[in-house]
């Protein structure tokens, strides 16, 4: 078994010459390295951090921001082996087919391929995320002993399902660094480096390929990597930062000939208490509750509520996942509404109970929601980032349409009713949390004018530079990205094996 290599111990002037260099040891980088381990390709994995949190290393993530209030740039991600899986919540759900479509009501939407392109990789991605047997929207039948789905009249919203990652025993969820450190050590052709910060993607003079990577440690060590293939897997913020900062040959940055790198940044807004749900019989099935349900087969589940594709098309709404959260109290008007509506519908509401709703929303792709470089530099001399964060009013308005439809289905089924709690932009933003799902800064498109990477995740115009991770998502869906980015990375691994062969 090999060791993790501490880059601080490398002799000065070291030059590594692997087949493939993977920059970043988060879920994408680790999944890619492990997927390539069964090839004869020599892989170097370059992780900036060590095996645990270090504030000096984390400090390199600091940056500026403007616009809508957002998580500090060093607050929503972690810079050590395992990356942001070191603090993720383990929520897993595959993207839906409609997420890949070019939606005429949704500007800049669409992937260069359909969901079917990554479906073959979901089983392995699910295993890497340790999310149990693949159930998702077939879970309704498997979880019947935990309660059935809420009765909803036929309509645009249905009960959808999350599954959750776990490691071993009660440790939850899978931290990729801890979980796969030994696998990385065991992989014969994988050399994992820690404390190895890539500071420049050095282009060949013709700007057609990456010639070498310049790397440094915080202790002052410098070394060079000359790989045949480079894969950027450092997260949506750092991927953009490294491309933009590597501007000695291409003035706008590597792969930025069309001014797209860093644009279309996205996350999933998680506004709190968006609505109040009243169930006339007061019985909330356990599958919707905050305490996730664990089945005998190990699957950990939680039910949510999603808009159907046909509803999204008809009403021009985006993706969303609505969750039922905490018990809520009704005011005088709420009590009157429940009594009056229940009497009108002829149902017994004496045991009615109220619950707050939460959600994760899909944002409209926006080129002005972007990352740029600032004049301030980090400890290794790299320019820091500035985020211009924006959320369109239409994103809130669209979600209200989905909530109204849910309310209609509850009433029509005589199951319950809904109150819309947020109206003004200020109200939406006041209760806003974020998923810390960094997406979209090196978006994928077959057309170089609308994307940074092509359908194979290769940077347009650069022969040997690829990007792994959710920075390539051109449209985001509302599902949590980790499972999906791992599946996409496994697809990239297959492609790289073919290219390298």
């Amino acid at each position: 078994m090999s060791a993790l290599i501490d880059a601080r111990t490398l002799p000065a002037g070291t030059v590594l010459t692997p087949d493939i260099a993977v920059i970043g040891g988060g879920p994408a980088g680790i999944s890619l390295a492990l997927a390539l381990a069964d090839s004869r390709l020599d892989v170097v994995l370059l992780e900036s951090g060590g095996l645990r949190f270090d504030p000096k290393i984390q400090n390199m993530y600091r940056g500026d921001q403007e616009g809508v209030s957002y998580v500090a740039l060093d607050g929503g991600r972690l810079r050590y082996l395992g990356g942001s899986t070191n603090h993720w919540g383990g929520w897993c759900r595959p993207l839906d087919g409609i997420d890949f479509e070019a939606r005429d009501w949704f500007a800049h939407s669409g992937w260069p391929f359909a969901l079917s392109e990554i479906q073959p990789y979901f089983a392995r991605a699910q295993a890497l995320c340790e999310a149990g047997p693949w159930l998702y929207d077939d879970a309704d039948g498997a979880a019947t002993d935990q309660g059935r789905a809420l009765p909803l009249a036929r309509g645009g919203v249905y009960t959808s399902w999350f599954q959750f990652s776990k490691t071993r025993g009660d440790v939850l969820p899978t931290h990729f660094g801890t979980r796969y450190e030994q696998d990385l050590r065991r992989a014969a052709h994988v050399s994992p480096y820690v404390h190895a910060n890539v500071t420049a993607l050095a282009l060949a003079p013709d700007a057609g390929r990456i010639d070498r990577l310049e790397a440094r440690t915080l202790s002052g060590n410098r070394f060079t990597v000359r790989p045949h293939i480079v894969v950027l897997a450092a997260g949506a913020m750092e991927n953009a930062r490294l491309l933009l900062a590597s501007n000695d040959v291409m003035a706008a940055g590597v792969g930025n000939q069309n001014d797209l790198v860093g644009r279309f940044f996205a996350d999933h807004p998680i506004p709190r208490n968006t609505a109040t749900l009243v169930l006339f019989d007061g019985q909330l099935p356990a599958i919707y509750g905050g305490a996730n349900v664990t089945l005998a087969n190990g699957a950990i589940l939680r039910a949510a509520l999603s808009p159907r594709p046909e509803f999204m098309r008809k009403h021009g709404v985006a993706g969303s996942l609505t969750t039922i959260e905490d018990p809520a109290a009704l005011d005088e008007t709420g009590t009157a509404a429940v009594i009056t509506a229940a009497e009108a519908l002829g149902v017994d509401a004496r045991n009615a109970k109220a619950f707050s709703l939460g959600c994760g929303l899909e944002l409209t792709p926006d080129p002005e929601r972007r990352l740029t470089l600032t004049g301030e530099r980090d400890a290794l001399g790299l320019p820091r980032l500035k985020l211009a964060m924006r959320v369109a009013d239409a994103d809130f308005a669209n979600y209200r349409l989905t909530l109204v439809e849910l309310g209609r289905q509850l009433l029509a089924a005589k199951t319950g009713m809904l109150r819309l709690n947020l109206k003004s932009r200020q109200e939406w933003l006041a209760g806003m949390d974020w998923g810390n799902h960094h997406l979209g800064t090196t978006r994928m498109s077959a057309d170089p004018k609308s994307g940074v990477v092509d359908a194979d995740s290769k940077v347009h115009g650069i022969a040997n530079l690829y990007v792994a991770g959710s920075s390539v998502f051109p449209t985001y869906g509302s599902s949590n990205p980790t499972l999906n980015l791992v599946a996409l990375t496994l697809r990239l691994a297959d492609h790289l094996k073919k290219v390298a062969a």
């Binding site: 509506a341 309310g407 009713m417």
Partner: protein
Amino acid sequence: MKTRRGTVIGLAGAGAALAAGALWRFTDVIVKHYPPTPYDDVLARLQDRAQAIRLGKAALHGLPGFTPAAAAASLRAAFGAGGLSVAATIDAVNGNLAEAGGWVLPQSVVLLSALAARVSG
């Protein structure tokens, strides 16, 4: 003696019944009384008019052009032979909804509540 006691009990009972009747009819102690309106046939569909008035006050904020006569006419047409329960269910199924204080409700329920609130003064 026995007859006299019976008479007293009977008179007392009759008095109590009269008092209860008066309380029921002429005060709001037992049952809330509402002044007659041209829309009582519609408002009679409400089981708990006091709660409907509370809801209706919230509903009126979102109904700036509300007129009782138009609302009553609309409700009479909606009720048809089926009454409020059928009308409310059909509204929900067909998506004829309105908001009252943020609550997403069948339009017939909102109109009826708003009518109750408006005529309650």
